[in-house]
Structure formats: structure tokens, C-alpha cells
Subunit: 379 residues, 2 copies
């Protein structure tokens, strides 16, 4: 692959870090939010060990931001999510769901509050920019909604803290889990948050000047040299171990928050006005009919993630589907997230899954599969 | 590539035609509307000749549909586009722009009217489903908006008419340019329209049952055997020759219709209420500052489409960018669509373009580059 000629045209954007990621060994790219994302630096298993033992730097510029500003920015942002934002301080982040009028999930971004009326939604893969602009049309609220020139990196893993101190000084130690801070690194404007998609200690570094992507990437790789920092990509193994959601795989517009066990992200008992409130009240009252569960699959180690939804059957009846499956080399088990009928969702329940290799037994287990109290990431 | 294991997970969908396209030689895929699209069946130049001399079958299931129904469906659909829909008959299609409140283009779908209050927007690459649902929230209109189980194919090229007669009978001859008809092909439910993305005679065949994708694909390939039908993909060469738009490449949320010369798609002189009307009036009154032009580039044949936006300079001043460029083996010229400052947009104007290979002269020419009166496609 010649990096200058990579791609089918200009229809899919390249990240500001594109040249650096190719230089550091990226050989395969996927597409996310209309932009290429590096997804292959060799062995996914080695990438996993790099992440959990030392640290990896991941180009996640595809996490595009929706910026909401204006006099009514707070009120409008609250309108977009069932989570109560009344205690979200300036400088704080929250994991939120964006729901439509039927309570279906449109995205699961991290929300950052940069100022009283200045918010970013750091997106999973869907055009929430269009959703938010559409909602604003007849809302009567005074807001501006745009995609700013912001491109995140994820620095994740146990040595990420030391690398951050080397880059930003001791002061970064005070940054708590799900808080953010503004920095300027040798003239490169940044926001840094203690968030990520790995369930490991980690940071997201939001570049605010797309012309400086490769410069920033190289600077971080250089600072990380003595801490065994490796170029990498978000780890499907680690995020499934952590029970973290991949939008379009584990949830889509037809999934509601309660099916995912995300009751804590839906606050119905206050005066907040948000889209989907009536629908979600009804769903809650009526009860869900499907539920996300963790599974262990009894077969030889899977060679990679499932690339189709695998059917689940009990007594030859379809009872659901595996949404994300992978072999965890640490747990030495095939683990999966699945959406099953609620009657089949109890821990210990057994049924059958049909993969590309055949039909195998599986059993419902607790999730997250590793570090269920999330001690690693929040300490 | 093993087709069963293709992909990085379930986050990107496979088309209902996926297995067939791999069987018929697809070796490279891009991503569009969260779904894989085959973009490589060997030489793009051969694919171009196949298209203009005989016919090709293209999997464009990625053209997802936004279905609008309900008592106020017509009124709501008119709200989404600056084009006047008052003369759009049931059974007719129109090429439309979807604009936001600032007059920026969000998509350029084909609109199909299936019934009085039943519309499909056959999308380019952006989540207009979210836009439309967002607009509906506070609209006070009685509409349902969803993505139905519909997956189009494009059958395009001079022999496509004969293939269609073989499949659907003589009655298909009556289908006029930009009209649609409902069919059932041996139990496969379809809508057929005389539209496409090739500027050649062609049809779009909208499958309404995703379980029957491979069956339909094979049926069409079989019928096309005697007419030299080849598996293929939409041709960048032909669509650039035809001056057709690729969203995200030639236009984006910051592009307005007048910059593209799409005045005929913006009807400001009536009582229609649509999003962006005030903004577009202002832009029209004030005049545009950029304009899309056709260019010929004076260098050796380009080896493929540009994968970055190429800078245009005159007297060392930046005056715009090439958005889509390709070598046309028929015209024996490098042709391009570009967005330039309006002062530089006159036919015959010359300036410089910097490609991956160096800096070359280019000249503004008429577009479309081939068949400017669109006689081929509409006859």
C-alpha cells in the first residue's frame, strides 16, 4: 500500500494522523464516521498484550465531535440525552446515550462540558451532527451546532500515566476519571480527558488543529519510548472483556437502553425534558423482552471477532444473537456479548450458538468478564 | 480473503448481495452508510468499458432508504428539500438535495414517490434517517420515518434495456427516465426505477426482502449472460465524465447548491416551506464566492482517482481544490471536478494543480465532459 494513493477517492477522509500511523506500521483500515481508522498493526493479540501490560497509542480521529454552543446549549444538550446532566460540572465528562423519540439508541458518546454553554459529544459511528441539527430546527432554542476541527487520540494502558506526566508535567496526576483539562503542548492546542475505550488506565487527547496531527503523534511516541509505548488500535479483545459497547454491533436504532442494562443512564424521575422520555417510561413500565448478556462459548479459540451476527438457539428455537465475540488470551476463553430473549438471560442458562465453524454450547455468565468493579480504570 | 471472515466485526453490515459479489470476483470493499460496498473487480478501466459498451451489475445496497409515511408525509418530505415537489406524481422519481438550516447540503438522494403519502429517499453516504427523525421531533406533523428492508442494485449500460426485457417482459419498455414501477420476480418483491449513477441507460432494482439478495443477483447475472453482462461497481471514470456528484468528495455540509450550479434544484419562488429557504435566499441575493468547474489536467494519465483534495494555485495564490479527478480512457484526458473561487471559474481560465506526481497546468472546460445534453441516459 502506498499511503499517498490509499483509498478509493476523496469520499472518505483521512485522519490528521494518517501518515504517522502508516509510518508506524498500520496495514489495514476500516471506515467510521466517513473517515479511515487504522485497525491492523499486525497481531490483534499482541496489540492486546501491549495495551494491558504497557501502553498503546490509537488514532481515533474518527470520534468526530458535535459541538454545541449558544445561550441555550445546556438546555439543548439535556434534550438529547436521558441522563441527568444537572450535576455535570464544567470540566467534567459523562458517558451518555442519545435516544430518538421511540427510545432507540442513536449513539453512545462521551459528553464533555468545556464551559457553561460549550459541549462536545465525542461520537461513536453515526451522524449525530445531522440528528442534533434536525432537532434544533423547530426547537426554538438558541444554539449553534457544528463539527469542529477536533481529532482525538487514545493513549491507553498501565504506563500511560507516566507518559502523560512526561508530556504534561506532574499536574496531570490531578486529572480524575471522567474529567478534562485544556493544555498546549509546544504550540499544539489540546483538550485532555481521562477516558477511553479499553477499561484500562487511559487518556484521550483531543487535537484542536488538524494540521498538527503527525507532529503530535510523533511527539507522544517519542515521549513513550522509555515506557514501551507501542502504536496500536482499540482492542476488541479488551473492550469485550470490559463489556463495552460497539455501536452498530451491540446496539442500534432498534435497541433501547434497558435492554443493555443501562438503567443508570436513564433518569426518568425528574423534570428534565428529553427526547424519548415518554417512550422510555412506557418501555420501563411494560418491561423489556430482550436483554444483553455475557456468554462463554465452548469451542476451540476463535481466530478473530465474529463478522456476522451468530444465531442462538435453545431446543431448536431462535432465542437471540451473538453481537460481539472474541477469544481472550488472558482468560483463555471465548467470550461474547449477545442479545437474548429475557427468559433466557439468567446467569448459568445454557444454549447453542452457530458460528462459521459449527454449532457449540454456550453459557450465560457475569459481565464484564474481567475486572467487574472497574477498579483498574477508575483508581 | 475468506468471505465468511471478512471484516473487523459486526459493526459494519454486509450487503444481502455480499456472497454473490465475492463469488463473482469482488476483491476490495469500501464502506458507505455503515455497510460494505464492493469497489474492485479488477481493472477500473475494464469496468468502465464493460459499462459503456455492454452492461454491469453493481451492488449498491449501501444506498439505504429513508421511508416517510403517514398523513403528513408529503408535507414533511417537501420540508426536507428546496426542490418543488408539487408536480411529483405517484410513480415518479426526482433527484433532490437535502439542505440544513444554513443551506448546506446534507445528501443528494433520489426521491421516489411510491404512493400519495409514501416516499423513499435513496441515499448518498450520510445518516439522513437521523436528520429526518430529528426534524420530525418538534414538527407537529404526523409522519413515520424508518429505514425499511430495501437494498438496491444498479443494472447500467447500453444492453441493460434488453436484459430488463428478458427479466420483466416488454412492459418494462414503457418505464420512462426517472419513473418507477413495482414488480415481483418469481416471488422476489421489487421496485424498479429508471435511474442510476452512470449517465448511461440504466435501472435501479430495489430488493424488498433482504433474505433474497444472492438469489436476485444470480438471476440477473444469468439473464444477462447473452448480453455480456459483467459484475462491476459504480464507475468513477463514467460518473466524473458525466459530472455527477459524489457526496463528501464534491460536496459536503459546507457546500451550498448554487456553488454546484444546482439552481434548478432550488425553487425559491413559491410558498413551499422547506429547511434552509431563508439561508438560500440570502446566498442567492449575495452571490456565491466559490463555484464547481470542470478541469482538464495536462499531465500523463493519472493512475487512479485522487485520494486527497489537490490544491489549485494561480500566481502562487490558493484559489481552490480538485475534489474528484480521473483519467478518461475514452476522452484520453485527465478530467476533474474542482471547487474554485468564482473569479477563476470561467471556461478557458488556466491555473496550476499539485498532484502526488508534481505540479501541472490545468484549464477550465465545459462539464459534463461527455454527452453534455444527457442524450444517452434519457432517450
Amino acid at each position: 500500500m502506498s499511503n499517498k494513493n490509499f483509498g478509493f477517492g476523496t469520499q472518505i477522509r483521512k485522519s490528521p494522523y494518517f501518515e504517522s500511523t502508516v509510518k508506524w506500521g498500520a496495514t489495514g483500515f476500516s471506515v467510521y464516521n466517513h473517515m479511515y481508522i487504522p485497525r491492523d498493526f499486525g497481531s490483534p493479540e499482541q496489540n492486546f498484550w501491549n495495551l494491558i501490560e504497557k501502553a498503546i497509542l490509537c488514532d481515533v480521529a474518527v470520534e468526530r465531535q458535535v459541538e454545541i454552543t449558544g445561550r441555550d446549549a445546556y438546555k439543548f444538550t439535556q434534550l438529547l440525552t436521558p441522563r441527568d446532566l444537572s450535576k455535570l460540572a464544567v470540566g467534567q465528562c459523562k458517558y451518555v446515550l442519545i435516544t430518538n423519540n421511540e427510545g432507540g439508541i442513536l449513539n453512545d458518546p462521551v459528553l464533555l462540558r468545556l464551559a457553561e454553554n460549550h459541549f462536545w459529544l465525542s461520537l461513536a459511528d453515526s451522524d449525530v451532527l445531522l440528528w442534533a441539527q434536525g432537532v434544533a430546527v423547530n426547537s426554538g432554542l438558541d444554539v449553534q451546532i457544528k463539527e469542529p476541527d477536533v481529532s482525538p487520540l487514545q493513549l491507553q494502558g498501565p504506563t500511560s500515566g507516566e507518559i502523560m506526566i512526561k508530556l504534561f508535567g506532574d499536574d496531570i496526576k490531578d486529572l480524575k476519571y471522567y474529567w478534562l483539562k485544556e493544555y498546549n503542548l509546544d504550540g499544539i492546542p489540546l483538550i485532555v480527558s481521562r477516558t477511553g475505550w479499553s477499561s484500562e488506565l487511559g487518556y484521550e487527547i483531543y487535537l484542536r488543529d488538524g494540521t498538527k496531527g503527525n507532529e503530535l503523534y510523533e511527539k507522544i511516541m517519542e515521549a513513550g519510548k522509555e515506557y514501551d509505548l507501542k502504536p496500536g488500535h482499540t482492542s476488541s479483545i479488551r473492550r469485550i472483556e470490559g463489556g463495552m459497547l460497539s455501536y452498530h454491533a451491540d446496539a442500534d436504532i432498534n435497541t433501547n437502553p434497558f435492554e443493555l442494562g443501562f438503567d443508570r443512564l436513564v433518569n426518568l424521575d425528574n423534570d428534565n425534558n428529553f427526547i424519548g422520555k415518554e417512550a422510555l417510561k412506557k418501555i420501563k413500565d411494560k418491561g423489556i423482552i430482550r436483554k444483553q448478556v455475557g456468554l462463554e462459548i465452548d469451542c476451540k479459540p476463535l481466530s478473530g471477532p465474529n463478522t456476522t451476527f451468530w444465531e442462538l438457539k435453545k431446543n431448536n428455537m431462535n432465542i437471540g444473537k451473538v453481537t460481539s465475540a472474541v477469544y481472550s488470551p488472558r482468560l483463555k476463553k471465548n467470550i461474547a456479548l449477545a442479545m437474548v430473549s429475557v427468559e433466557q438471560s439468567k446467569i448459568g442458562n445454557e444454549f447453542q450458538v452457530t458460528t462459521n465453524e459449527g454449532t457449540f454450547d454456550c453459557i450465560v455468565v457475569e459481565k464484564p468478564f474481567y475486572d467487574p468493579k472497574k477498579k483498574i480504570v477508575s483508581s
